[in-house]
């Protein structure tokens, strides 16, 4: 009764504000969606943690026949590909943003930014097709000829094909770049002109000025990369097409094929229901992916608050 009255009071507190409060239904819907999905994930996923315990994430095994599931290899693959992808994307996105804002004349600037934004609008399936037919053969050629092939004993198995953790990393980085470029570009453009003037008036070269400006916006750059990675980490179809899809316990051997969590899900969901614990394992993986994403978001909100 008290709660009802409280609700009533908040509803009619101010003139016509109840309409505004009705908007909260939308927020409730979103919270409901996330909670529902997480309940489904957790409800199923918990079963695999009960069965496998911690070894679900500390061992490498994936066998429906034996009903044994350990996703260390996929977890490792996710982190390794993600790390390399971020590193490459950082270079490319910073380069693009600097080129667009600092080098290109203003008429080309609009065109170039549109172009990078456009690449964010391309469906990921099409990236996957391209990665499979164009990118991985090229990577395969690169890693089987010197100087890269000299690293093969440490990073791969002999005769590696193009479909590998490395190809997946590079494809991911290509998909991340447009997002990161857009964010870095905007923060670079948002640096007030008087900062430029101050730096140039000290007699610095363009490159030095740019480097100082980049350092100035380093939290934005980090945020941009993390957010874009978050968007790519759940990418299933495109990655599944180029990563080689092999249970590779040595996930640091990036010239070899491997798995990411998302591509393992994409590969296994079709027949998962034929086994007792494969569906829980898949949902358990999704839960882990969600936690990684949540972690990234919390981290980003912390660093951006500090910056």
């Amino acid at each position: 009764m008290g709660a009802l009255r409280l609700f009533e009071r908040s509803l009619f507190k101010k003139n016509r504000e109840y309409f505004f409060l009705l908007l909260a239904l939308a927020n409730i819907a979103i919270v409901f969606i996330v909670i529902t999905i997480n309940l489904v994930l957790a409800g199923q996923g918990v079963r695999i943690f009960i069965k496998e315990g911690l070894s679900f994430i500390t061992t490498s095994a994936w066998s429906g026949v034996k009903e044994s599931y350990g996703i260390l290899f996929a977890l490792g693959g996710t982190l390794v590909t993600g790390g390399i992808a971020i590193a490459i994307a950082a270079l490319l996105a910073i380069g693009s943003a600097v080129t667009i804002i600092e080098i290109l004349p203003s008429w080309a600037r609009a065109f170039a930014s549109t172009l990078t934004d456009l690449s964010a609008a391309i469906p990921t399936v099409i990236y996957g097709l391209w990665g499979l037919f164009v990118l991985s053969p090229v990577i395969g050629g690169l890693i089987s000829t010197p100087p890269l092939s000299l690293l093969t004993p440490y990073l791969g198995s002999p005769g590696s094909l193009g479909t590998s953790l490395l190809s997946a990393s590079i494809l991911l980085s290509i998909m991340i770049v447009p997002f990161s470029t857009a964010i870095i570009r905007e923060s670079l453009a948002r640096i007030p002109k008087y900062i430029d003037e101050a730096l140039y008036s000290l007699g610095l070269t363009k490159f030095e000025v740019v480097m100082i400006k980049l350092r100035y916006i380093r939290t934005s750059i980090l945020t941009a990369l993390m957010i874009s990675y978050g968007r790519a980490v759940g990418e299933t179809v495109a990655v599944a097409m180029v990563i080689g899809n092999v249970l590779n316990p040595d996930f640091w051997r990036i010239f070899s094929p491997g798995y990411t969590i998302a591509s393992l899900i994409a590969d296994q969901y079709q027949n998962a229901e034929a086994y007792t614990y494969m569906v829980p394992a898949i949902f358990g993986m999704a839960l882990i992916l969600f936690l990684i994403g949540l972690g990234i978001n919390i981290y980003v909100s912390i660093i951006s608050r500090r910056g």
């Binding site: 590969d267 296994q268 079709q270 034929a274």
Partner: protein
């Protein structure tokens, strides 16, 4: 106060009316709102005899060799939703398209290749009107069906095989013919026990003048990475011929490949992934569906069968296995788990050893949504009768699929007639 309540009242009213309208309207279960098809579509009926019963059904007769079956098609637009096996998808699409014109445009079969495992599970969930799978109903699902007291049938639809493909640049096919392999050798290759192509056990199987062509190169073992019925059939074969395989790896949609762990194996998505990877990787070996290899004209290895003959897959060689294996089907609602093994590694001079069938699952009890809908049940019955008769004729078979022997088709039709009542 009243002024404030009115807008909220109106909103809530709209929501309630909308919700009620949605609840009243219940067109699912795969059946569309009946609409009267145009007369031009009626004339498209192509089957041999057309009569109309008192209940308004179109009666058609289908034949296959000396089989002749009557089927009734409702005079209403009916949508059948099926899903499962990826292997049968191209064939099913062809059947669906042809059957729609056979039914005079009344019956549309929407089949989606969501995977055998998912097909079985979603059928069990009653989200599908029928499920199709490369293996019969699994033990778990079967037990759940029994405990639920559900009645259902499973019937074979069509057959296929798994072919072994390879890439050895030195191998001269025009001179030596297809590579010859035995099951235990293939198992040991994938187990990682045979490393090189010039291993004696491979060499000795080839004709003498070609033995020296096999290079001292590491064999790359390619396999399906996605869960698939093809892998299930292939590993079933390996388990049959190699006890070590059976204990170390086993049979399933996805298994752990010992050769991968050694760094000499790799997975690929789908048949085309495997075939592309084998094509692109020197000294590799892989397996694909027979129909896929035929459609894409990929040469396959000759496999040693139980009687020691080396057989290249072909429609006849598969048919031989079918005739020997599934002579008699178990009762429709019993556990069929042993049926696939009866087709594997059969004896005979021309019998190919890795052969399997696609099975369809249909509920037959009145309680289920499907059968409470008379039109849907009739359409399902007619569709599968057509598939098992006209559908097995060469003009309706997609290249690379193997029709069922007449005896098997007749048995399956009998199950439909006996159990799928409407």
């Amino acid at each position: 106060m009243l002024k404030k309540i009115i807008p909220i009242g109106i909103l809530i009213a709209i929501i309630i009316i909308g919700a009620v309208a949605l609840f009243m309207y219940k067109p699912w279960g795969g059946v569309g709102v009946p609409t009267q098809p145009t007369d031009t579509r009626n004339t498209a009926v192509t089957a041999t005899a057309t009569t109309t019963t008192s209940s308004g059904m179109i009666v058609l007769t289908f034949t296959y060799e000396d089989l002749s079956v009557k089927a009734e098609i409702p005079r209403k637009e009916v949508l059948i939703t099926g899903g499962g096996s990826t292997f049968v998808n191209p064939q099913m699409q062809a059947w669906a398209q042809k059957f729609r014109s056979v039914s005079g445009g009344y019956v549309t079969v929407n089949y989606q290749s969501i995977g055998s495992g998912a097909g079985e599970a979603k059928w069990f969930d009653k989200a599908l009107d029928f499920g199709a799978s490369d293996v019969p109903i699994s033990k778990t699902t079967y037990d759940r069906l029994i405990s639920r007291k559900a009645s259902f049938i499973q019937i074979p639809l069509i057959a296929g095989a798994v072919g072994i493909i390879y890439n050895i640049p030195e191998w001269d096919e025009s001179k030596c013919g297809p590579l010859r392999l035995s099951g235990d050798v293939i198992a040991d290759i994938y187990l990682g026990k045979i490393l090189y192509w010039d291993d004696d056990r491979i060499k000795m199987q080839q004709v003498e003048e070609c033995r020296s062509l096999l290079p001292h190169e590491i064999i790359r073992g390619i396999h399906r990475s996605d869960g698939s019925g093809t892998t299930a059939l292939f590993t079933l074969y390996l388990s049959t011929v190699s006890s070590e395989w059976k204990t170390r790896v086993g049979t399933g949609y996805t298994v752990e490949w010992p050769r991968d762990a050694m760094g000499y194996g790799e997975g690929a998505r789908g048949n085309e992934g495997v075939s592309a990877k084998v094509k692109g990787t020197k000294y590799s070996i892989g397996y694909v569906e027979y129909s896929y290899a035929v459609a894409n004209k990929i040469p396959m290895a000759a496999l040693k069968n139980k009687d020691g003959f080396y057989i290249v897959p072909s429609a006849e060689a598969v048919m031989e296995a079918l005739k020997r294996g599934a002579k008699d089907l178990p009762p429709p609602s019993s556990f069929w788990g042993d049926v696939p093994a009866t087709l594997i590694n059969r004896e005979g001079e021309k019998t190919y050893p890795i052969v399997g069938m696609v099975y369809a699952f249909i509920y037959t009890d009145i309680v289920s949504d499907i059968v409470s809908n008379k039109d849907l049940a009739a359409a399902l019955s007619a569709f599968f009768k057509w598939v098992l008769t006209e559908g097995q004729k060469p003009e309706n078979i997609v290249t690379g699929y193997v029709p069922l022997p007449k005896e098997l088709a007749a048995k399956a039709i009998k199950y439909i007639e006996d159990y799928l009542k409407y």
